[in-house]
Amino acid sequence: MLSLRNLHARVGEREILKGLSLEVPAGEVHAVMGPNGAGKSTLSYVLTGRPGYEVTEGAAELDGVDLLGLEANERAAQGLFLSFQYPLEIPGVPALTFIRTALNAQRRARGEAEMSAPDFLKRARACAADLRMDFDMLKRPLNVGFSGGEKKRMEVLQMALLSPRFMILDETDSGLDIDALRIVSEGVNALRAPDRSMLVITHYQRLLDYIRPDRVHVLADGRIVASGGPEMALELEREGYDKYARAA
């Protein structure tokens, strides 16, 4: 599904991804772990097309479609979703309005019919209930004044409503309390499907107890330096990244 080959990317003058290769087959969940500053968020921005993140070499494809040649919104319409490590606030635009506008923009881009307001509201209510979110929160400007944990929950709510094919979760667990972590993980697990995949960036095994990954990768110094099964996360938690940092 997602195929990254020898990706090199820079921000300004600085090269941050230095030949990153990764394959995530359809239906699988892959975890990416790695020390602070290794380039995990950079990878998520490069894939989603954030301006200022320049790919100098390599390829990134989603189901054979070259992502690098597309605008950020075109990538979203292709079904790529990023749950931001630090979600942004959108003053004056109620969450519901924002998500519906985004959903319909995606549908238009794919040549699908727009979703009517009543249908959308019905789905939004159901998703909010699943994530134990107060529906009134969705009437407030998106993320404005929300707590860190509330913002993360709102990211997962948007993800559920936009139903993307490929999801990148960048430290979605950080800022969540113990109950929220479980609820949000259930929400994420509900999105697992044979034709969908995920890249879950995290520092903690805790999240991976809920969202069981098929593979775990270590990203250090701009490259994937090791890959293994779910047990590798436990090993990393015990031993840290020392040996990989040295290897990298």
Binding site: E71, G92, I99
Partner: protein, 344 residues
């Protein structure tokens, strides 16, 4: 400097110029070497629909400067007036309408300035508000890009009166809205809001002065706008709290969005306070749309133009939220929406 005389006497030396402190950013003298001929009379039967059509209210037309000169609203009456200023051709004209609102009367003034003319105009309203009366003046201005226009309001309030104003404009070659209010305090309330949406080489100037002459008055002002391309906005807000106008509460905010490197915003908020126990606040911001926020919105699937329009519309829409008449507010909101979307 006297614009009215300049037009009547066709004397460019009387035009306001950059040497007049209050006109330094809206120089007319430097713009017009000669004054246009007086405008031709404009028959009112061929005039198309206006922006407030369909809302209940008596329609008054000022066509190339000619129209009614005086209106009275009797004590305790409630009225809606639709006042359409229509300018066509390249000539110059002036008009002055006096509106007297009797004690405890209510007036909604739905005013439009409709384009088509590249000339020079000075359009004024003198508003007298009797004790405990209220007036909401809602203005939308869509002028010719080549028009040069000054629109004035001189308002005088009695005790307990209320004046609320919301101006929406897309500017002109050079355009100024000047609002002067004499505020008696004593329970009187003033709201002076405005929105500008300026593109290409358009110019709009929102200038106001409110003079608090008695104790216990309130003034609340919110101006917002966006400038794109090579447009230029001017905001000058002056609030004077005279000696004896104790306990005045005055708030002023001006927030501008600059969407292009070559656009410009000049702002001058001024508070002059000579009284005691006065609560005054002013805030001013000039900035661009946040790139990180735009990327976030695009990551969710919004094309850049749509993301920008949504941010601009919500930013400017907060001014419309303060409009009192719900039906007029809806008209103004869609009017604004159409002008925000237009450039993308």
């Amino acid at each position: 400097m006297n614009l009215d005389e300049a037009i009547r006497l066709r004397d460019p030396t009387r035009l306001p110029s950059r040497r007049d402190e209050d006109w330094r950013w809206t120089d007319l003298r430097g713009l017009l070497r000669t004054l246009p001929e007086p405008s031709q009379p404009l028959p009112t039967d061929a005039i198309g629909p206006g922006p407030f059509d369909g809302l209940a209210g008596e329609v008054l037309i000022v066509a190339n400067g000619s129209g009614p000169e005086e209106i009275r609203i009797g004590e305790g009456e409630t009225r809606t007036l639709v006042l359409r200023h229509i300018s066509r051709g390249d000539g110059a004209h002036t008009s002055r309408l006096r509106i007297d609102v009797g004690p405890s009367a209510r007036l909604t003034l739905l005013e439009s300035h409709e384009g088509g003319g590249a000339g020079l105009s000075l359009l004024g309203v003198d508003l007298q508000l009797g004790a405990d009366s209220a007036c909401e003046r809602l203005v939308v201005a869509d002028m010719d890009p080549d028009a040069v226009a000054v629109v004035e309001l001189d308002a005088r309030l009695a005790a307990g009166a209320g004046l609320s104003q919301t101006l929406l404009t897309t500017g002109a070659r050079r355009q100024r809205f000047e609002t002067r209010v004499r505020h008696p305090g004593q329970g009187a309330q003033v709201r002076l809001d405005g929105v500008y949406v300026l593109r290409e080489r358009r110019h709009a100037d929102l200038t106001s002065s409110v003079r608090h002459e008695g104790p216990g008055g309130r003034t609340d002002q919110l101006a917002r706008g966006m400038v794109d391309d090579q447009a230029r906005a001017v905001f000058q807000g002056r609030i004077i709290v005279q000696e004896g106008a104790d306990g005045t509460d005055a708030r002023m905010a001006h927030n501008a969005l600059i969407l292009s490197d070559r656009a410009e915003v000049d702002a001058r908020p001024e508070l002059e306070i000579y009284a005691d126990d006065v609560a005054c606040a002013h805030g001013a911001t000039v900035g661009a749309l946040d790139d990180e926020v735009l990327f976030y919105m695009r990551q969710r699937g919004l094309p850049e133009g749509e993301a920008r329009s949504l941010l601009v519309a919500s930013f400017l829409g907060e001014v419309i939220d303060r409009v009192g008449s719900p039906e007029a507010a809806e008209r103004m909101r869609s009017w604004l929406q159409a002008r925000i979307g237009a450039g993308d």
